[in-house]
Structures are given as structure tokens and as C-alpha cells.
């Protein structure tokens, strides 16, 4: 999976390099470190173009498989009836643009480059009974991600500073998933993409949190026993002050 991702990134870089004239962009930081006091953060996207045009940026979190269940009423009781599993679902999605998306990108371009939540293409769910059912589940999945604040429905704003320099702030909520993100930046002129660039961004736990998380995966049994013993000792300690009551 990681190898594929790296290859993909390299290919994207190569492609960007081949036609990078016209657009240069970078992030203020390529690492979002999640520490114990993490409450969300923002990263600045900045860059320059070689002339007038619009800039669109897409931020996608690492992809994972998501299954979505629907409840149905059978004999007066609501129960989980149907589940579909979608693959390649980005764990985070945000779009930023210099102007409202519909003014910059025609529908065909939105579909091609997956600009906007509505244009997201997901894999899987082959066992859907009909295209209509698949669409229904797809829409419910998007709604849920929006509700969690992981898919940003409103397009963020990219501002031009003068004619060529642009700058935007990408906000990450406190429940931002960890992993390798991809920030795609497009330069659009006369309703056509003339240049594109891709930049990676890593969101990762650091410090004690990362150590705990890693330990819990590597030494699951030891972690479980420690967690149980720790709780028991904490319970015992806490009862001491009340002993003579």
C-alpha cells in the first residue's frame, strides 16, 4: 500500500515537474504533529503562478475502506438490514479555490479531477442491488463525513496577494485522522487545467501518545495486562484516603 502511494507520489511529482511551468506551491509545514494538547491546527498553503488564472487546491486524507449500514423496519423493530463497503474513501477532504468552484471549473473538469465532495469517486460496493441503492449509500456516507467535520462542504478561500502570489489556510479539526495526506494544487485558465502540483503532508502522533499507540499494537498482551493492573492500582490508591472514614 505504502509502496503504491510512494510510486504514485513520484509519478505525480514527475508529471508536475514536466509541466510545472506556471505554478509553484508549497506548505508552511509538511508535518502536523498531534501532541497531548492537540485541538486542531492549520497549515498555510502558498505559491506563485506565472500569470493570471485561478488556483484550486484539494486536500485528501489517507484512503481507507468504510462500511455503511442502513437500518430498516421489520415487524415494528429497527434493525441493521443492509451494509455496503466502499473502498478508497479519503479520510479527509477539503477543497480551496480563488473563486466559487462553479465559476472556475466546468462540470466536466469537476468530475475529472474530483473537485468537490459531490465529485468524489469511491470504489467497492459491488454488491449493491442497483445504481440507485449505491448512490443512496454513497450520499449517506458523504453526509456522515461532513457531520464529523472531516469533509469540508464549503470551499475554502485562496487569496491572491497581488497578481501572482497566492496564499490560503488549510484548517484541520481536532479529530483529524493520521496518515499521509496529499495536497493537489491546480492552475486553471480559460476553464482548463494548465498546470498541477502535488505535495505530501504527514499527520502523525508524536511524543508519549505515539509511544503508547505503538506499544499497544506491538505488545498487545503486555499493554492489556498493564492497563488492567494500572487501573486496579489506581483504584486501590484512591481508596486509601477514605480508609478511616
Amino acid at each position: 500500500m505504502r509502496a503504491v502511494l510512494v510510486l504514485g507520489l513520484l509519478a505525480a511529482f514527475a508529471a508536475a515537474g514536466a509541466r510545472a511551468q506556471g505554478l509553484t506551491a508549497d506548505l508552511s509545514s509538511h508535518l502536523v504533529a498531534i501532541t497531548t494538547g492537540f485541538t486542531g491546527t492549520s497549515v498555510v498553503l502558498f505559491g506563485a503562478t506565472d500569470g493570471p488564472g485561478d488556483v484550486i487546491a484539494v486536500v485528501r486524507g489517507p484512503e481507507r475502506d468504510v462500511s455503511i449500514r442502513r437500518k430498516s423496519r421489520i415487524a415494528g423493530i429497527w434493525l441493521n438490514a443492509r451494509a455496503l463497503t466502499f473502498t478508497g474513501v479519503p479520510s479527509f477532504y477539503a477543497l480551496l479555490a480563488t473563486r466559487p468552484l462553479d465559476e472556475v471549473a466546468p462540470p466536466a473538469m469537476q468530475t475529472l479531477h474530483q473537485f468537490g465532495i459531490a465529485a468524489l469517486r469511491l470504489g467497492g460496493a459491488e454488491d449493491a442491488a442497483s445504481p440507485a441503492e449505491r448512490d443512496l449509500f454513497h450520499a449517506a456516507l458523504l453526509d456522515d463525513e461532513v457531520r464529523q467535520g472531516l469533509y469540508l462542504k464549503a470551499a475554502g478561500r485562496i487569496n491572491f496577494l497581488g497578481e501572482r502570489l497566492f496564499r490560503a489556510t488549510i484548517d484541520f479539526p481536532k479529530n483529524v485522522p493520521t496518515g499521509t495526506y496529499i495536497v493537489e494544487v491546480y492552475l486553471v485558465r480559460q476553464k482548463a487545467v494548465v498546470s498541477a502540483q502535488t505535495t505530501p503532508l504527514v499527520v502523525s502522533q508524536t511524543g508519549i501518545d505515539a509511544a503508547v499507540d505503538e506499544f499497544s499494537r506491538r505488545n498487545a498482551l503486555a499493554y492489556g495486562l498493564l492497563a488492567a493492573a494500572g487501573a486496579a492500582i489506581a483504584g486501590w490508591l484512591s481508596s486509601l484516603p477514605f480508609r478511616n472514614a
Partner: protein, 304 residues
């Protein structure tokens, strides 16, 4: 607001909110000797903890809360160690059987429905019976001749009779053994501690004095919760020890207050309160099954 990032749950939550949540559940646990997992898990899910992490971490904090509560009751002499060990023995066998049964039911599909329906039914009957009994006892208190401590039935004719001194009982050891087994099966299948069924059953089925029940129940919950915590940590890596610890700090304070408060209540009042809570949970379960949900769809990430 003081947010802390939880390493396994992978969300930031307010420490004070978690402390308050722990304390509220701790009070309940201290008074009645029930774990409170049935309340804690949904509340954690509500504030944004992933469901699997919420259930596993509740079990983790339950260990500490039960140790603290059981010790408080033990110091007051309200713990029947002998009875607790027999219940535990049955409980461990029951959980092993329950884990097997769970896998079997899941293969057959619709396990959630079977669980919810049977639990709702069980709690409704239990709650109603307890309510009638305790209200009746309160009304009788004014002068009417006292009944015997408990009625003798065929249950008392079973073999392997043992004298449980603290509980002032002379009954067959098979009774608590089977009860422990049944609750063990239930907690393994439902993923809750089972205190809700254990406590009323100890009062009405075994005829234990109400004062001894919470401590004895808490004692055996310690071990059930420990087993669940280790199993979850190994199988699913869903135990957030930091979350459990924060909940625990609030929980132990609540449990101490609760056990002190509970000691001051009269037996029938305690039982009536417990009946109310059991009924409330039953109503909630029935509502979940029959009221159209706000959101028909539920997302869950698929672990690769």
C-alpha cells in the same frame, strides 16, 4: 476547557468533561454495585469516542472503579468473599462459553437483535418485579407483621449445601454457580459487566441481605472487567488506557461518595431506586428498537 489527546481513541476531549462523566457513573456504581458500563459506553460514544474504543476502555476503567468500591464495602464488612468466589467461578466458565456462543450467533446473523430483544425483555420483567416488591416492603413497614427472611422453595432442596456466613444463608453452592455462569454468558455476549442482572438476582434469587450485595457484586466485576480488558487489548487494540485513567480519577471519587450514600439508605429504598434505573434502561432499549432512528445510516471504518 483543557483538551487532551487520547492516543488510542485518536480524538481530543475535555479533561473536565471526562472527569465529571467518570464521577457520575462512579456514584451509581458505589451505591448499587453495578458497573455502570451500560451508561458509560453510550455516553463516551456520544461525545465522540469510537464505539469499539468506548466499550473496551469502559471495561478498563471498571477494574479500578470496582477495586475502589469493593474495598470500601469490604472495610465496612459488606463483602461476602465466599459467595463472590463461587459466583466468579461460575462467571469465568460462563464468559468462556459466552465468547463461543457470540461467535456462533454472529455467524447466524442478526446477533444484535437477539441481544437487544432478550435484554430488553429481561430488564423489563426484572425491573417491574423489583418495583412491586420494594414498594410493597415500604408500605408494609408501618407495623404489619414481618415476613420470614425468605421463602423456602425447591431451590433449597438442591444438594451441595454450603453455609455463607456473611450472607446469613445456607443454600446449595449450585445456585450462585449457575447464576455466575448465566451472568458470565450474558456479559460476554452483550459486552457489559452484568451487574444489572447480578445485583437483583443476588437479592431475589439467592436471598442475600441487600447491604452485602453491592460489595460482593463489585468484587466479582473486577475480574470480569480485567478479563474483558486484556482480551480486547489483544484482539482489537481498542483499550485506551489514558481515557480509562482519566475516567477512573473521577470514578473513584464518585464511587466512594456513592458507597457512603448507599450505606445510609434503607434496603427497600435502595431496591426501589435500582428498579427505577433498570426500568429506565429497559425503556431506552425498547425505544432504540422501535422509534425511527434520526439517522438510518451508520458508518464504520473497516480495519484491514
Amino acid at each position: 476547557m483543557l483538551d487532551v489527546y487520547l492516543p488510542i481513541a485518536a480524538v481530543s476531549l475535555d479533561v473536565f468533561m471526562l472527569l465529571a462523566l467518570g464521577a457520575a457513573v462512579g456514584v451509581l456504581s458505589g451505591i448499587f454495585g453495578v458497573g455502570g458500563g451500560f451508561l458509560l459506553t453510550p455516553l463516551l460514544i456520544f461525545i465522540g469516542v469510537p464505539p469499539a474504543v468506548a466499550a473496551a476502555s469502559s471495561a478498563n476503567q471498571l477494574i479500578g472503579a470496582s477495586v475502589s468500591g469493593a474495598l470500601a464495602h469490604w472495610r465496612r464488612g459488606n463483602l461476602d468473599l465466599q459467595m463472590a468466589l463461587v459466583l466468579l467461578l461460575g462467571g469465568l466458565a460462563g464468559s468462556a462459553f459466552g465468547v463461543w456462543l457470540f461467535a456462533l450467533l454472529r455467524r447466524m446473523g442478526q446477533i444484535e437483535l437477539v441481544i437487544s430483544l432478550s435484554y430488553a425483555l429481561l430488564l423489563s420483567i426484572l425491573g417491574t418485579l423489583m418495583m412491586f416488591e420494594s414498594v410493597g416492603a415500604m408500605l408494609r413497614r408501618s407495623g404489619a407483621p414481618r415476613r420470614k427472611l425468605h421463602q423456602h422453595t425447591w431451590l433449597h432442596g438442591l444438594p451441595f449445601k454450603v453455609r455463607f456466613r456473611r450472607s446469613k444463608l445456607y443454600i446449595s453452592a449450585l445456585l450462585p454457580l449457575v447464576l455466575g455462569f448465566a451472568v458470565g454468558v450474558l456479559s460476554a455476549v452483550m459486552g457489559v459487566g452484568g451487574g444489572f442482572v447480578m445485583v437483583p438476582a443476588m437479592i431475589y434469587l439467592l436471598g442475600m441481605p441487600t447491604a452485602v450485595v453491592p460489595g460482593t457484586s463489585l468484587f466479582q466485576i473486577i475480574f470480569v472487567a480485567a478479563a474483558v480488558t486484556v482480551l480486547q487489548a489483544v484482539e482489537n487494540q481498542t483499550v485506551d488506557a489514558l481515557l480509562a485513567l482519566i475516567l477512573l480519577v473521577g470514578g473513584v471519587i464518585g464511587a466512594q461518595l456513592g458507597s457512603r450514600f448507599g450505606a445510609r439508605l434503607r434496603g427497600e429504598h435502595l431496591r426501589a431506586l435500582l428498579a427505577l434505573i433498570v426500568l429506565a434502561v429497559a425503556v431506552k432499549l425498547c425505544a432504540d428498537l422501535t422509534v425511527p432512528p434520526d439517522n438510518l445510516f451508520a458508518l464504520e471504518p473497516v480495519t484491514p
